[in-house]
Symmetry: C2
Subunit: 417 residues, 2 copies
């Protein structure tokens, strides 16, 4: 009897585990595919030489300590670096306000665990970041979402919903998740007036804002946006990450929140500090690179990539689509004027050698959506040109097929099928 | 108005967050203290030179990929290494059975999340690993525990409890957490007969066994123990870690379970792979060190340290204590014959310059316990000698003070105070 072929007992699993991973399928692609689906940083801009130097130096100077649980001076250096960087962005934090995490992804999971019990309300934008949706589903919370506009979350609808819920005595949200600056996937940014209104609502209706600022430093215009945290520190849990400004493979991010919340978030980490060896290396790296120069390079590069993508879209799609030109970040959110099913387009696009992410991956209810996400950060300018051309061909084909199918269906109908 | 002094709204927090971190206090110690509390690996045995070489080589050969989300060849190499190592230890696994985690600590958190909803039953040993208790508390589950004996978990009591719960129609456990081999803190090992009985019970009463094998490779006697996973793969979720065999600062561990469970555990990780940059480095390291020789060095070293500690205890404490000599791992669990309060002894020991962990940190209900945990892995032989001598002095002092207090109380009583 081969015991390992026994099936496991799935009846014992928690009810709150989503059945499907988020956008797993788009990672299965071929050599010559153009990956407009990958929300990845540009590998050519990773500071590899500096990182190699930093690794050697960190191991030589702090190896023994850096390899223990608590680590060497690195973790404290990083907290201090975060504190000073946050200060430049208008955030007043002490080391007690800061928790280093395994990327902003862990920040999402921890914020959900900190607040949400099964049945609680968590409110989000729609579209929103898929990993956040997964984190909220896992907590067993009920997700309700509010549309994005060209200037970010529709705060008016949010306010109406809050009023109605209060009046009707329905459960109020504990948490509102938002990406105010350079939205993933929306590419939009919340206006300053709406930022003020949003934190007023958080105060008035007693919920926390989970502010995901993963792309905040990747600003193409020089315009500065006040973080929600700076407007209402006692009502905001702030997330950020080294993934977009250094490299995602490091898996380092951070949370900023009131020390009383940070204390509890630390308890959620079960006493384990986040990758102290990696922190030591990154601390050494941060001591040796000119971060402002590095960020300027990233901004210039990503802005150019965005422009290449926008021009290609205009050329290949013309009036069939519309979008808000992103003022920062990695993503362009493409809206089709016709109500097409982008999940079917995503499949066809793969046949044409280009990967994209369909709209439905970003909505809590997985309906059909006539939108898709394009990422301009990872591919080269030539690949972006080629990818958009392929996508346009796939789109024409998809439309033809759909019209063909409709025609066929109509024909079958007439034949009495 | 200084907004950052506003208190956060604690009424919104999940009810399941433990109020206190586990044994946080023992990390606050002085320069010249002897840390018999730290469950840390011996830093002198970290393969630092090899690690420095591996870091440089990994960044040079795979830097760009290793720094993206999915990583380079490293993660697959590590999964394969785990597969082959597990095979030698009697575990039949394919890559689909394996998930690399941020240490066994994340394995505990994920197993809890996979199965437990608020109100569910999770059963443990007592004493048990404190971070596991925290993970279970966080899930809102009800924890029930069963005593350890010299040959591990009291399986008979477990069986009675299962029978009674079934007969009475009370909730059955979804999960039993156990450290069968070289227990933390108990230092004991589950007998082969009990291993067989335990997995039979898991099959009969339909629960999962969470087998924590963190110390399995650190075997001082050459005796081999069958893992519970090898006896009932469909009923076991197996945890292990590089923390004890390479270094904890890497924060890398792994889970082995049925692929249907691993798929769901991956979903719990929200699509993020565990530190791929670190994995690339560790993969390169594993290709270049002779792991069997390295493990032999660790075993020899830790066995010697254990012997030093046991001899010092016998010399300083004599008949006042008893313990089971650990046949592997990091820990010696010291039982006092008198019913002393080791929490008070822990405090006094700090005054004498030695840190230990009191018994109560390892029990689900935080009662007084006349036991404490000593770790022989981290300190040098000289420090161990000195630490035990200091602990004995603190103990004598504590006893004197307690008797003094009793005398005083008696005196006060007679004086009608
Ligand atoms: C909005 C947003 N938040 C969080 C993350 C996760 O980032 P990290 O790599 O730090 O986990 C991403 C990455 O794609 C993101 O787009
Ligand atoms: C029994 C046991 N399990 C798990 C762990 C956690 O190990 P890791 O460093 O892999 O998270 C430890 C570490 O002390 C342990 O003793």
């Amino acid at each position: 009897m081969n015991k390992s072929t026994h099936s496991p007992d799935l009846t014992l699993l928690s009810r709150y585990i989503p059945r499907t991973p988020s956008i797993g399928s788009t990672t299965v692609t071929h050599e010559d595919h153009v990956h407009l689906s990958f929300g990845f940083a540009a590998p050519s801009l990773f500071p590899l030489v500096e990182l190699e130097h930093a690794s050697g130096a960190a191991i030589r100077s702090h190896g023994q300590e850096a390899l223990q649980y608590a680590g060497a001076p690195g973790p404290a250096y990083i907290v201090n670096w975060i504190k000073e960087r946050a200060h430049r962005n208008g955030i007043d934090a002490t080391p007690n306000h800061i928790l280093v995490t395994y990327g902003a992804t862990q920040g999402l999971a921890l914020a959900a665990q900190l607040l949400l019990e099964p049945g609680d309300e968590v409110w989000t934008e729609a579209p929103t970041f898929f990993s956040a949706l997964q984190a909220f589903r896992l907590s067993g919370a009920h997700i309700r979402s509010f549309p994005l506009e060209a200037d970010g979350l529709n705060v008016e609808l949010l306010e109406q919903a809050l009023q109605q819920a209060r009046t009707a005595g329905r459960p109020m949200p504990k948490l509102l998740y938002t990406m105010p600056t350079y939205h993933n996937p929306g590419g939009v940014t919340l206006s300053v007036a709406k930022r003020h209104r949003l934190v007023e609502l958080a105060r008035e209706y007693h919920f926390y804002v989970l502010e995901d600022d993963a792309y905040g430093e990747l600003n193409f215009t020089g315009e500065l946006w006040p973080t929600l945290y700076s407007l209402a520190p006692e009502r905001t849990i702030y997330l950020n990450t080294f993934s977009k400004i250094i490299a995602p493979g490091l898996r380092l991010g951070w949370m900023i929140a009131h020390p009383q919340l940070i204390d509890r978030l630390r308890i959620l980490m079960l006493g384990g500090s986040t990758g102290v060896f990696t922190q030591e290396i990154v601390a050494t790296l941060l001591q040796h690179i000119d971060i402002d120069r590095h960020l300027e390079q990233l901004r210039t590069h990503y802005r150019e990539q965005r422009d290449v993508m926008a021009a290609a879209i205009d050329r290949h799609f013309g009036d069939a689509v519309y979008y808000v030109l992103p003022a920062g970040g990695f993503f362009l959110w493409l809206n089709f004027r016709e109500a097409i099913d982008t999940t079917s387009l995503q499949q066809r696009a793969l046949d044409y050698g280009v990967s994209i992410v369909d709209g439905r991956s970003f909505y809590p209810e997985r309906d059909v959506h006539h939108q898709l996400r394009l990422c301009f950060s990872y591919c080269s300018a030539e690949q972006i040109e080629q990818g958009i051309a392929r996508l346009a061909a796939a789109y024409r084909d998809d439309r033809a097929a759909e019209l063909g199918e409709v025609a066929l269906t109509a024909l079958e109908y007439h034949n009495g099928a």
